[in-house]
Symmetry: C2
Subunit: 326 residues, 2 copies
């Protein structure tokens, strides 16, 4: 049988100001890393830019059960690490910078400008900047952010072991956060503005039957009080208009996610919710600019669909942009 | 931090004649297994039928490098095993049977008939029956099949350690098979009917630079000779019309893949190559029948895109068919 191939892991390279790339990938979540992998395999010169560490929202997930191939589930952060390791088989440039603008976006050579005042040139761009949490848009949110208001149960949850917390939302992410947090908080109130829970059946059942979780239906969070950090929340029933109070140490806000604002200045064609419209080849309305993953207008935003999108975008960058110029 | 969830592995169940399912998945490759995983997670009652063991073509791949999350690559058969293990977290029925027909395919309850004369009823079907190797359509192919003509380097390659073999083809799969076989055969002739090799750059480079591999361009295999098994092949140059002879122990045929004939009797709308047309939700022209993976008309046929397709099909089966009847 064949000899086992030796895998030589490589260090990520730091890009230089003004350096030329075949493709710049904005965002290092599953879509971005998959796009990078396929681009590297097609011998493109690749730069990944992300304002955070690799992994995207996947790394904030507790346990991933639906990316097939990991029979015992895998922690989001571990899957993100494996994806990053996978890229280390290739020569690739990576930098932790926020993209602020793309100059000459309609030209064949585009220039990426970042918050560190760097510039990088490229023939193609794949936007994989994902989603960010939606805010409720109430004054208490900014006031208590990081002091008992959180958008990431996986990151901040561990500070609330044995405490009483609230999760606000009515969907899959709120259910998932509740299920995760219920493992170690003493009591969890799932404050639900709707009269239903819209989550995948197995998860919904788990949440509904968990004795640590009380679901408070048809209810908004009206206000938050505390001296230095969250101590108490004021609830408002949508049905009766009555107010009640609860003592909680933290409110985890899960009211949805929206396209990341990193790319907001670019004139993409978007759907009514602000997601970038692409064709099945992941092409946006701007020649040479592709979008993949959660930022794209599509039905299902999961790791598996993001990975697929990234691969398709990379193949088409090579086909549409790089191969024709060779 | 949360307690580690205990994963209780389950035995696959054997379906009974006339048993009712929410969804029957035809094909247990990556698309079918991903569709099954997502269907199970949505609490659907699932039956998978495949005329072979789980894994599909993925299990015949040597090393899979582009399904992100496996940093050191993973043997196709091992990835298939992990996917199958993943399904063992759920109650699922599986049977090794070939689907011969779907009766009442346009009704809300469809009946699957198999080669073992079993019948199973279901509300929805996801066709994930994948591709099968194309034949060259020459008499020697059937004559020597299993005796020096093979379509699966990964399965049959090990019998040819230290021997001289030929691979016939001009694409990615032919290149891949050559790269794989070159690790342990003494000499490999890549008989290429074209004057170019159409493979992903990194692979193409590996094949072109491998001293074990000789590429014979612009050449067809005209005939095969041998007493009991393949001993000699007659080549015909497309350019000069000249014939030459080569001593080889095996010819691995990699001239492309075509939709599996398992579903050929069903009146799907297909593209000109015979692949099933779907919308972005994986719906075929027949209500309640979905298609996912390589059998579908689409640009990129890879494990990652198949897994994504399977997930999307399952979500839409639940949404379109099951949820509305609850």
């Amino acid at each position: 049988m064949p000899k086992e191939e030796t895998v030589v892991k490589k260090e990520k390279q730091k890009p230089e100001f003004g350096e030329d790339f075949d493709v710049v990938i904005i965002g290092a979540g599953p879509a971005g890393m998959s796009a990078a992998l396929c681009s590297c395999r097609a011998k493109l010169k690749v730069l990944i830019l992300d304002s955070a560490l690799p992994g995207g929202e996947a790394s904030t997930a507790y346990k991933v059960w639906n990316y097939i191939g990991f029979p015992d589930g895998i922690l989001g952060e571990n899957l993100a690490k494996k994806m990053e390791d996978h890229l280390n088989n290739y020569d690739i440039s990576y930098s932790c910078e926020k993209v602020e603008d793309i100059i000459n976006i309609s030209s064949s050579i585009k220039t990426i400008k970042t918050d560190l005042e760097n510039e990088y040139n490229c023939k193609a761009v794949i936007v994989c900047s994902g989603l960010e949490p939606k805010e409720i848009d109430k004054p208490f949110e900014k006031q208590f952010l990081g002091r008992g208001i959180s958008y990431y149960a996986q990151c901040d949850g561990e500070y609330y072991q044995g405490k009483t917390v609230a999760v606000f939302g009515s969907g899959n992410c709120a259910s998932y956060a509740s299920d995760y947090l219920a493992e170690f908080v003493e009591k969890l109130y799932l404050i639900n503005p709707k009269d239903y829970l819209k989550a995948v059946s197995s998860l919904k059942e788990k949440v509904m039957n968990n004795s640590v979780i009380d679901i408070i239906w048809d209810t908004e969070i009206d206000d938050v009080f505390g001296i230095d950090k969250v101590e108490k929340i004021k609830l408002l029933s949508n049905k009766t208009g009555q107010s009640t109070w609860l003592d909680v140490s933290c409110v985890f806000v899960y009211v949805g996610r929206q396209p990341s604002k990193d790319i907001i200045s670019i004139e993409f064609e978007v759907d009514e919710a602000g997601f970038i419209l692409t064709d099945e080849y992941m092409r946006t309305n701007i020649p040479g600019v592709y979008a993949a993953g959660d930022i794209r207008s599509k039905q299902i935003r999961q790791i598996a669909t993001a990975v697929s999108d990234g691969m398709i975008a990379a193949v088409n960058v090579e086909k549409d942009i790089i191969r024709v110029r060779r």
